[in-house]
Symmetry: C2
């Protein structure tokens, strides 16, 4: 008996484990870099998806102009890792956070966004007190109905306020067309990209008409990045999930399941009936993020005949077709519905090329709440 | 400007933060201890819910006989914290894990469970090689259709195998009636508890008829713990979520919303329209665990008029009724649907009595994958 295997090969990694395939990752990073390059727009990947300085470095080396994050805690991790240009794409509120943002601003090119006078005023007071200047993008709601000012009139008012406030500089406009996750691939996504760009560019145009320069017109999201990047007037795209890709991104047309770089390696631990198998990965390994497609919790590589039925915290339940042999101890590799959510459940990720384990990375920007 | 507040009061804790109310926690722990004591059964709380040695100590002090966990990594944390009696209620598979289980067995009273000959044989080989004896419960499926042998015949065969194998000792039978989460409170839960107990006791009785002693008859789950504890023949209950409770447990009748000890403190960061507010907590703060009741992501304390509509990773979107003032910067406290899932998203929990911050605890057994 050899209880401790040398983890040189993926087959020797204990399960469940989240695994990142470097070849696929690099290919995805290269593909999106080409999309931006060919469209002539800047690429500012959202790092909340990967949470890994190592992936950020690959993105920057492939031509990304900087990163996007949602949390100051994420920005702090990436600045510490040497990233010099970060957009904190979130309405930052409160003395403690304004203070941290200003401290970060001394160390790197930090931009943020706002959709309210309250946030602009807070940032202005803090920036003035700290003696820094904070560039701010105005977030415009282009149909997702989350954050963002409603239209050109509100965008103009906020851009003016940023321009006129001490310590803040108007940097442009930003949107996130999250409604793309409910759209059909192809024409549906084209339509979302078109309406996203129309509303975002409408706000930008209204601001320009007031004599205010709009340097950045930034649109978000992997599903519509290719479409929106080609629309005249868009200057930047902020896709995040593209680097790993996942079952839902493949369904929306970002490559195929074979391009997904992030998988969960699991083991069959129970075969209570001929038609049921249980694997050692549940919501704590996959997250409970639902698919945009169906009730399945993922796609099982090499075994389309197995149906991933449901998850509990530590169990994944599969339907096994009649007559299929699937012994306890069988290892299965699963493409998750949502790669960002899955990696967020793990402190570490096993990095491979094919079946060779290269190293283990700490998910450095994971669970940064604030 | 005082950028760093002294966090003595909850009002000064930066958001989002997960908060544990000690008074409510202790009350919930006491209530379930009384349930078990009055029914004359052992209480072995499932620690995958709280993941905190501090909570385990309170449970043991209130009369729990030991803990339940799902992962060896959790067992290792709790043994390290001084807990001497732990059931690893999961089919443990593979040389590496069998080795760790045997190592733990040297340090504490460790029991596990199995629903297959394969797992029993692996445990037997490892225990023999390590010179330890592993007590094993046979898991019986009582209707949840996850793990567990199908009925008395299979239970008898596995109990015999455990009894006859070197290094393993038959310790009893175990079930988890997870179908309770789909039952109506009151009569519905009574019915689940009755059928759970009938099937579990049927397996126990069949094993006894073969001349094998069945020391433990253990049933799981907070929703049915009170009902099943009173059924003759049940010797142990393994509720987990009861310690925190949550919106779903309250709906199933474990106290009320006022008994929920775990909350997420958030701040309104955006008011894009009069009827929409956005808070700074999304699936990364709450988890994406769906409610058994509806599409809401939680219950907002003191504000039943606010409807929690949906979450994205870092945003919670609320419907605000006409005419309600809800300024940016307003702090809201939210009871999550599923306390276990919520705490699992956080590295630390802020511990309070009323509004006073007592300390911050590391969620020591969080994200133990293996």
């Amino acid at each position: 008996m050899t209880p401790h295997h040398s983890p040189k090969n993926l087959a020797n990694v204990d399960t469940p484990a989240v695994v990142l395939d470097l070849d696929r990752l690099e290919s995805n990073i290269g593909r999106m870099a080409a999309v931006a390059r060919e469209a002539g727009v800047a690429l500012r990947p959202h790092a909340k998806s990967h949470k890994l300085p190592q992936v950020a470095r690959l993105q920057l080396a492939a031509g990304a102009t900087g990163l996007t994050v949602a949390k100051l805690g994420e920005a702090e991790v990436f600045v510490e890792a040497g990233v010099g240009d970060i957009l904190v794409a979130y309405p930052i509120w409160g003395e403690s956070k304004w203070h941290r943002l200003c401290e970060l601003r001394r160390r790197a090119q930090i931009t943020t966004c706002a959709d309210s006078a309250e946030v602009v005023d807070g940032l202005s007071r803090a920036a003035t007190a700290h003696g820094v200047e904070i560039p701010i993008l105005v977030e415009v709601d282009t149909g997702f109905e989350r954050c963002g000012v409603a239209g050109p009139r509100e965008a103009v008012a906020l851009a003016r306020r940023i321009t006129e406030s001490p310590g803040t500089a108007f940097a442009g406009v930003l949107s996130f067309a999250g409604q793309s996750y409910g759209a059909q691939p192809g024409p549906g996504l084209e339509a979302v990209a078109a309406s996203d760009a129309r509303r975002l560019l409408g706000a930008a145009e209204a601001i320009r008409e007031c004599g205010i320069t709009v340097p950045v017109v930034s649109a978000g999201g992997t599903p519509t990045a290719r479409q929106v990047a080609r629309i005249s007037g868009i200057t930047e795209v902020r896709p995040g999930a593209y680097a790993f890709s996942d079952r839902d991104q493949a369904a929306l047309g970002w490559g195929t399941l074979a391009d997904c770089a992030l998988t969960v390696v699991t083991t069959v631990v129970s075969r209570p009936t001929p038609e049921r198998a249980v694997i050692d990965a549940g919501t704590k390994a996959f997250s409970s993020d639902q698919s945009i497609q169906d009730a399945a919790f993922g796609a099982i590589i090499d075994h389309p005949e197995l149906t991933p039925l449901r998850l509990t915290e530590e169990h994944g339940i599969l339907h096994v077709p009649a007559g299929m042999r699937l012994d306890i101890g069988t290892r299965l590799r699963v493409i998750p519905n949502h790669g960002c959510g899955t990696l967020n459940m793990h402190d570490n990720v096993t990095v491979v090329r094919d079946e060779d384990v290269i190293e283990e990375w700490t998910v450095a920007a994971r669970a940064k709440m604030r």
